[in-house]
Amino acid sequence: MFEESGLSTILVTMMPTWAEQYGVPRAVAVEFPFGHPLGLPGHPLMQTAVINDALKVLKEAQGPNTVVHLDHSWPEDEAQWRRQWQPTGASPLIAKHLDQIRAMRPRTTGS
């Protein structure tokens, strides 16, 4: 919608697999927890670093479906953040499908 109306867009995504499958004009991918596409709160230098990388791709991309994976690493404890980004209660969608989701757990030997 935006590109066909003459705007140039740049996406910052944590899910490049979707962008690469569905197709996007231009994107940069960051391996950051959900809700944090530009990094940590109160860390303007980290946020600006991602923004500058995004603006570079916006400027230099030669055609559609340009997805550039950035190598910024998350500066805090990964195990802690696998939980910390999550909502305090399951979203209505997850709550509705919890049985299906739990059924995806790998079976342990003997069970």
Binding site: T9, P25, G35, L38, Q84, L93, R102, A103
Partner: protein, 172 residues
């Protein structure tokens, strides 16, 4: 190193999402408008799916209806002015923890960072309006009708009226 899209998800949720979310291949139809100006002459707008709204001034996104109808998500949008200060934004989104973005909304809608880029002329300007939607639009078939037919065109019209040329998109 390629970014692992599923790194932060619990194993069972990642497996479920890989099964549930089979995006169609749309790459042949991707539209593309080259940026023809230098960044220093380009006017920007920002759009996030984080569910941000102005605390005390705007209605939150309707997460109560979403609780009753988990296959539905609020399609409306909120205008976040470029003058907005830290502490004036709250979030309504049930799919991630909003505390960090309520502390510093720039992690999702980087108004203050773009004002810092505008000041020395690294970008041309930041438009008066930034935009917030709540990204979850339903499952298993997201309903993008309202975005496509009503709210998308309304946002686009406002961007055009503010002479926006480039748009930074930040899904949550």
């Amino acid at each position: 190193m390629p970014v692992d899209s599923y790194k932060w998800l619990p194993f069972s949720l990642a497996a479920w999402m890989k099964k549930e979310y089979q995006a169609p291949d749309g790459k042949a139809n991707t539209r593309f408008t080259p940026l023809t100006k230098p960044l220093s002459q380009t006017r920007f707008a920002l759009l996030t799916t984080g569910g941000l709204y102005l605390k005390g001034h705007q209605q939150p996104f309707d997460i109560h209806r979403e609780a009753r109808e988990p296959e539905w998500g609020d399609p409306s949008f909120r205008i976040i002015p470029r003058e907005t200060l830290t502490g004036e934004v709250a979030l309504a989104h049930t799919h991630y923890n909003p505390v960090d973005a309520e502390e510093d909304f720039n992690i999702l809608l980087p108004i203050h960072r773009f004002l810092e880029l505008e000041k020395p002329g690294e970008i041309g300007s930041l438009a008066p309006s930034a935009y917030s939607v709540m990204g979850y639009q339903g499952h298993p078939i997201p309903d993008y009708t309202q975005w496509r037919e009503r709210y998308g065109p309304e946002m686009l019209e406002r961007m055009k009226s503010e002479d926006v040329e480039a748009l930074l998109l930040t899904p949550a």
